[in-house]
């Protein structure tokens, strides 16, 4: 029998809120799908759209960008800029008829270990339903 599809999800987590929230999920011993590979960045505003696009075109089944809730940015306003960039990225992907649902922007605070687990679980389930990212095997990319 074919092995069940295990998504590969890249998670850009901001150091101050979302990475801390992910740590708290750990400290609280919650269950989080192992499909997520966390990548720590100092601020969600460091996540440039080309990085996300690269991950997407290289075959990531999902890309999660997670940062502090609006108003909570450790660097004052970074997440507002991050949100605009993400909106543009998502729109470009969507307009090209690609699967923009594979990209997700979530705000997760340092106290939201539970929420972090939920976000990843939910995203993982969604990606599972979507199946593997076809970019992964597309030759001419």
């Amino acid at each position: 029998m074919a092995k069940e599809f295990e998504p590969r999800i890249v998670g850009f987590l901001c150091n101050w809120c979302s990475y801390a929230g992910a740590d708290l999920a750990g400290t609280s011993k919650l269950k989080v799908p192992s499909s997520l590979t966390p990548i720590r960045v100092m601020c969600s505003s460091r996540v440039d759209s080309v990085l996300v696009t690269t991950a997407f075109l290289r075959g990531a089944d999902g890309v999660l960008v997670a940062g502090c809730h609006p108003g909570d940015c450790h660097y004052d306003k970074g997440n507002y800029y991050a949100r605009r960039r993400f909106a543009v990225l998502k729109k470009v992907v969507e307009s090209l008829g690609l699967e923009s649902d594979r990209l997700r922007l979530s705000w997760v605070s340092a106290s939201e270990g539970q929420r972090f687990a939920e976000v990843v679980n939910e995203f993982n389930e969604k990606i599972k339903k979507m199946g593997p990212n076809p970019t992964r095997v597309k030759t001419s990319l």
Binding site: S49, V50, T53, T54, L57, R58, G59, H69, P70, G71, K77, Y80, Y81, R83, R84, R85, F86, A87, V88, L89, K90, K91, V92, V93, E94, S95, L96, G97, L98, R104, L105, S106, W107, E118, V119, P134, T135, R136, V137, K138, T139, S140, L141
Partner: protein, 379 residues
Amino acid sequence: MSKSEGNSKNKCAIISSKLDTNEVIIDFLKKAMDKGIFDAVLMPLKVPAGDSFAYVLIKDKTLLKDGVPLSPIMSVQGAKAVSSVTRLGKAKMKIAAVMRPCEIRGTNELSKLGQTNLENITLISMDCPGVLPMSDFLIDPEKNIRIFNEAMQKGDDTIMRPVCQICDKSSMVAGDLHIGIRGAKKDTFFMISNSQKGNDVLDKLGIDLKGDINSWQAKVKNIADEKHKKREKHLKELKSKTGGLDNLADTFSQCINCHNCMRVCPVCYCRLCYFDSDKVKHPSEDYLKMAERKGSIRFLPDTILFQMGRMLHMSLSCVSCGACEDACPMSIPVAQIFSMIADETQGLFDYVSGRNIEEPIPLITYKEDELHDVEDAND
């Protein structure tokens, strides 16, 4: 909704003349140079060989007569020309830059990006009939100049480039002065001012801004609405043709990574394109690994990444001028695809590139309360 109508606060003068549009513009420029309002003019000129057109900075006013403001092709996007003159500081003399609306919009974008200094530049546009596809034109320049002029007379855009056919901003007034032909009575032209700078020029020439602009506005709106419908329909069709991973890959399968599209793009102002830099050159083992995974891998690689990256970087400033498509040796409909993306991304922020020089480019600003449909803050 079409956004291409002239600004309602625009003032205008009506000029009577038996000359054709090109001649009227040149006559106007000559008078302005005579009065010392401009020291030089930047505009398209027929090259000596007669088979092409190039932007030329004219200091000697006797050469003005060779100018072709409404040239049949867009050899270089005018914004790039203005940028080369003023990127490092304001022009040392007063220059009138005569360009098509999309070129002026490109200039405005570049101004926001610090790539032009418009202090001594007066931007003059005119109702644009479109231009011919470069590849068509080059087959028989002489004949095509004639065909273009005839089509222009008739207001027929079917031989123009596809992006020109769906351009709903061909009369957008985004510079200082605009010469309107649409809706004008025989042997008259609209001279429209869009700024204090424009007012001053007309004032010095003794031209009173007392004309009635309504018929131009009505005609322009008419054309724009019609073209807007066409644009939406065309881009929708394009989307279904190129949309989706397979179609997209097919569309760009002929791309040879020459990056010409980027090089001619007016708003691709980077010194070195990100996608030409070492940042995106990866060790061969990365590609070998990919080949292993995919079974095979196309070379040169990362074509789609380049195109998407360029969309991310500049679709908010894209003015749909079509330069990229003219420059593509593989005839990929790049400009149409970019127009489609630009309409979408600019629409996110209700932004129209180059419309207004005061409007900040969306990525350098934000609102606290916006875009909630792309985030999931609460479950």
